[in-house]
Structures are given as C-alpha cells and as structure tokens.
C-alpha cells in the first residue's frame, strides 16, 4: 500500500522561533547567503511568515505560518509544467520529487507554484573554509542555475528504509523517518506522518474541523495541512481575506 506522507502544522503552537528553517538549511546543505542576496533571492525551503490581523493595540493578533512545499496531490501545478520531467510525484510516497540534476533552470515551475515554495540557485554554492565539514553527506549539493524545494527530507526516508532493510523488516519504522524541521521544533507544532494510514495521528488531525489547507480552492490538493482554533487565521487559507494583512519573513 503506497504511502501519502504529509504534515499538519499547528499555528497556535508556532512561536516563530525559526528553528525549523535553520534545521532545514543544515539538513539540506543550503549554502550561506552571499553578500548580495536579498529576502527574495535566498534559499529557504522552509520559510516562516509573520502575519498580523491588521489591527492595533489590544486587538492586534499575530501568527507565524511556516510555508514549505505543500506536496500537492496528483495534479500538482509544478509537475505538469516542467518541460523535462525534472519533478515527479513519487507514487510510493506521494512526495513531489525535484531532481536538480535534470533541471534546466527555466523556472517555469516557480511561476506555476502558488505557494512560492520553490527556490532558485541564483549563485554558485560556496561555504567559508572549514564549514564544508558540516555538510550532510546524505544530501547532494546543488549547482547554480537549478530549482530546488522541500522534498520532505527524502534522505531521511532512505536512511529509514536502509535501517529497516538491515534489520530484515519490509516496512520502515515511522519513528525513524522524521523531517529535520519537526525534529528541531521546540513546541511540537509540526506533525508528520502517512496520510494514507488511518491509524496515523496525522490522519485524524488533518481531518479535524480546525484543520485547513492553503488555497484549497485552486484544487492543488496539498498534503501539508494547517491547524488553528482562531477564525481569523483560518480565513487566511483563501486569498480573499477581508482583513488587511501585512507580512514579514522571519
């Protein structure tokens, strides 16, 4: 039975600390931003947005929304547009797999993604001397001129499978496959698991009344859910929000 890995991010628990962003960068060998980089040319497969409800004083509310690749369903906006099939939906796991080795760098997928979850390598990767020792050997480094995005820590999926195979098991142990962002999150705001498995915790939370998905009306069928008890936060799911909003990146 093929898996459908997904996430639920509890926005009422996210404090905007940004640990998930740092862990993601470390896990995925994201190079340090060059001096000329801007917030719009950075490489942040996990990006936390700060959103307010536009009011002042005691009525002011803020929420931090970590945005990553939504791992859209079978009809992803990006897979259908890539001219050389450098991105595919993996049938076994439901993960939207980006292949930087095949990427031409045309950036059409970046235009297609409504969540702005795709990032381009505008520079050649360069690490200060000595820092290359901190690289994760399980994840390939990307050259400049290719697109990349969150792939649900696919290297950790591989490690978990290898571990299971070494122990003679066919199925991997869910406890072995944990994305870096979840591991780093101090408040436990991120829940990860197999949405195809009804017994998995993530399944029931994703289908709870407080769960929602961003821009669901576009029909992208994301596998990353959000959860909040606050009505104004839930309203942020769709574009047509009545409240004025401002946003900043963490």
């Amino acid at each position: 039975m093929s898996a459908r890995y997904g996430m639920v991010i509890d926005l009422d628990r996210c404090t905007g600390c940004g640990a998930c962003m740092v862990a993601c960068a470390a896990e995925n060998n994201v190079p340090p931003a060059p001096p000329r980089a801007t917030p719009r040319t950075g490489l942040t497969p996990m990006l936390v947005h700060k959103v307010t409800n536009g009011m002042e004083g005691t009525a002011r509310r803020e929420v931090f929304i970590p945005v990553t690749c939504m791992q859209c369903g079978d009809e992803t906006p990006c897979v259908s547009v890539c001219p050389q099939q450098a991105v595919q939906v993996d049938k076994a796991t439901g993960i939207v797999m980006q292949m930087p080795q095949r990427c031409l760098g045309c950036r059409y997928c970046m235009v297609a993604c409504p969540y702005h979850a795709r990032y381009f390598n505008w520079w050649d990767p360069a690490w200060p001397a000595g820092m290359e020792k901190s690289l994760n050997p399980g994840v390939a480094v990307r050259m400049r001129g290719v697109v990349e995005k969150c792939n649900l820590c696919h290297a950790r999926l591989h490690s978990a499978k290898e571990k299971a195979a070494a122990a003679g098991r066919k199925e991997l142990d869910p406890a072995d496959y944990i994305p870096a962002c979840l591991e780093a999150c101090p408040t436990g705001a991120i829940l990860f698991g197999n949405l195809a498995d009804e017994n998995d915790a993530v399944f029931s939370v994703a289908h709870s009344p407080d769960a929602f998905r961003l821009l669901a009306r576009l029909g992208t069928e994301p596998k990353v859910y959000y959860k909040s008890g606050q009505a104004w936060v839930k309203a942020l799911a769709e574009h047509h929000s009545e409240r004025a909003k401002e946003s900043k990146h963490v």
């Binding site: 259908s80 990427c103 950036r107 409504p114 969540y115 795709r118 990032y119 381009f120 050259m143 821009l215």
Partner: protein, 420 residues
C-alpha cells in the same frame, strides 16, 4: 582603402543603388557597439550566474521572458506572410516576402539566444528533447521553436545565395534554385509549427492553476489564451512588418515596396486585431465572472493595485486594440501613410502591453492571503542584453538589405527551364 571600397562594391548587386561604404560603416557603428555591450552583459550572466539580473524567486520570469514573448509575436509576420503568399495565393504580397523572412529569422534567433542566457543551465537544453513532458506547454514551445528556426534558416538560405558573389559558385546557385522551388513546402510546415508555438506561448500561462490571473478554461487541453495568443500574433505580425519596412525606407531614403502592399498588410492586421478584441472581450467576461471566482479570486484582487488597474485591460482592448484596428481598416485613414504607421505602432504597442501583463503583472500579483503586491525592474545586464538583440536585428537586416535582393524582384520572369 580604395581596395576595400572596390571589394565592397563587388558584393552589391549590379545596377542597384546603395550608400557608400563609409556611410554604411558609420550607420553600423552604434549598433555594433550596442551589440558588443549586449554580448558583454550576456557573458556576465553566463559566467557569474543569473544573480546578475534583478530576477528573484518571486519574479522568476522577468524582462527577458517578456522580450521573448513580444519578439516572437512580432516575428509572426514571417510565417503569416508566407502562408498568405504560398497557401492563400496572395501574390501581391510577394515583394515583401524576403524582408519578412529576415525579420522572422532575426526575431526567432534573437529569442533563442536570449533564452540560452535566461535558463540556469543552458548546456542542459537538450534535456527537453530527451525527456519531453508532453503535458507541458513549454515542451511544445521548445520543440516547435527549434524546428521553426530551422525552417526560417532554410527559407533565408535562398535569399543569401542570391548575393552577387555567392551566386557565382555554380553549386550555390543550383542549390538555391532547387530549394526555392520547395519553399511552399517550408511555408506550409512553418505555418503549422507557428500555429502551435504561438498558441503554446499563450498556453504557458493559461494552464497555470496556481495563478488565477492567467488561468483560463478552454477547448480540450488548450486554454483560451492559446487561441488568443495566435490571434494577436497574426494580427501584430503584419503591422510589425509594415513598421520595419517603413523604417528601412526612411533610413535608405528609397521606396522599397508599393503602397498597396502596406495597405493590404494593414487591412489584414486591422481585421485580425478587431477579431482579437472581440474574442478577448468574451474571454475576459467569462474569466472574470466564472473561472476566476471559482478559484476564490475576483477582479478586486487584480485591479486594485497602483499602477496596475483596470486601465491596462482597457488599454489593450480599446486605445491599443479597437482604435488601431479601425485606423488600419477604414480607407480614410489606412490610405494615408502617417495614419497607417500610427495604427501599426499602436497595434504593436497593444500586443506588447498584453505580453507584459501576462509575464510581469502575473508574478507581481499576490496569490497567498498574506502575499504582497511586488515590484520588479530589470538590471542593466538585462536591458543591455535586450538592446543587444535589437542591435543584432538591425545589423542583420542592414547587411541583408545591402548585399541581398531583399526587395528587388527578379528582373525577368522566373526562369522556365525547359529541361525541368
């Protein structure tokens, strides 16, 4: 020095008037300088990476993609004139055919050159051919434009081989003769390819479910933008051809084609432009009332940002759409050269604005509830590359005009060789 002038004279057809070598070189100097600057800018981007541009993760497509779409729409005059002459037998447009081929060649080769700089890994361009994704409009564009560039080169070769010195090589002349006989086949193939890639460039945007500003319903796999782009391209192609030829007449100080040719091209352009405006109006109504709301987006989401307001949409359809269409159709204006050129210019401006709206405005508009409306302006490297492409076009056209029979028809009838 006089040796050089003599050699230059030998390459120019006998009996035609061309400006002196000195004057021609002086004309070329600023364009060569612009081209050199463009090559330098492109070189910087190829060497240092695309961080040399002002494109970023939100504006993944910038001025170059706008340039590509615009230039290919303008270059539609090449295939469309060929279609009119060889398939629809409009013989009175024949004198402008060679010029149209040069314009097409310059537009498409310039677009491909810019694309090679625009992508992050140009050496991987062959991947699209090796692992084609038949669902992607960009695959379709790549295949069609590559084939069509080849067709344009093949259509240009006979013009090139009729150069006074080149035709002295017997094998060149015979090959030109044989290739010229097959040009109708190439024109038909070119029309077929152009129909698809002009449409697919519109389809690039029409299929984007993640961008409700451009997403459209359509017919089978083709969104309405597919057909709208074809229509606007064949509407603007003849107008652009008029402008280029008129510019050539102004620069060379000679009458190059009969006024009737301009009027006919203008009429065709005007009629197609009027049709385009009508279809676009219907499409806009469907989009704003049905398609867009179903995705959770309404007109307020598109048109409430300054300077983008509904004036852009109005501009494309009325002052840069219906108005020039009328100018080009009505004999009272189309008969006068000044009004004809004005109408053609407005038509081109309208299509340019439309392409800008699709490439740049789409990316500026927010999608997520907490997105901002964004700004983008190109870096000097992007502008210089743009300038380099224009310079390249002017240089190739100038050289073609000076040394090749662009406008001179063969003085006798076509040789009816009895042996064939």
């Amino acid at each position: 020095m006089s040796e050089l002038l003599l050699i230059d004279r030998r390459w120019i057809a006998r009996g035609v008037e061309r400006s002196s070598t000195m004057r021609f070189l002086l004309w070329l100097v600023p364009w060569v300088a612009l081209l050199a600057l463009g090559i330098y800018a492109a070189g910087l981007c190829l060497y240092y990476g695309l961080n040399q541009t002002n494109m970023d993760n939100r504006f993944a497509f910038g001025m170059w993609i706008f340039l590509d779409l615009a230039i290919i729409a303008m270059g539609a005059g090449a295939f469309f004139t060929g279609f009119l002459v060889y398939i629809l037998k409009q013989e009175d447009l024949k004198p402008i055919l060679n010029s149209a081929v040069v314009v097409g060649l310059v537009c498409y080769s310039g677009a491909v050159a810019v694309l090679m700089v625009d992508v992050g890994q140009p050496l991987r361009a062959w991947f699209t051919f090796w692992y084609p994704n038949t669902h992607s409009m960009l695959t379709e564009v790549t295949f069609c434009i590559s084939c069509y560039l080849l067709v344009l080169i093949l259509e240009y070769i006979p013009v090139l081989l009729r150069n006074r010195q080149l035709r002295k090589v017997p094998s060149f002349l015979i090959f030109e003769h044989q290739l010229h006989k097959l040009v109708p086949v190439l024109a038909a193939v070119g029309a077929f390819l152009s129909f698809f890639h002009q449409g697919s460039l519109g389809g690039l945007y029409g299929v984007l479910r993640g961008r409700p500003f451009v997403y459209r319903q359509g017919f089978a796999i083709w969104p309405s933008t597919f057909f709208l782009f074809i229509l606007s391209a064949i509407a603007v192609g003849p107008s652009f051809l008029i402008l280029v030829t008129a510019a050539a007449e102004r620069v060379t100080g000679r009458h190059l084609v009969k006024p009737g040719v301009f009027r006919k091209l203008g009429l065709i352009s005007g009629v197609l432009l009027a049709m385009y405006v009508a279809v676009k109006a219907v499409d806009t109504l469907v989009w704003l009332n049905i398609t867009s709301p179903s995705l959770g987006f309404g007109p307020r989401d598109y048109y409430s940002y300054w300077p983008i307001s509904s004036t852009f949409l109005f501009a494309v359809t009325v002052p840069l759409g219906l108005f020039p269409a009328l100018l080009l159709i009505m004999p009272i204006t189309a008969g006068k050269r000044g009004w004809l050129l004005f109408g053609a210019t407005l038509a081109c401006a309208g299509v340019l604005l439309n392409r800008f709206v699709f490439t740049v405005q789409t990316l500026a508009l927010p999608t997520l509830a907490f997105d901002d409306f964004l700004q983008y302006s190109p870096s000097w490297q992007e502008v210089a590359t743009f300038g380099g492409v224009i310079a390249y076009g002017v240089i190739v056209y100038s050289l073609s005009y000076r040394y090749l029979p662009l406008f001179d028809p063969p003085k006798g009838a076509d040789p009816n060789v009895s042996v064939d």
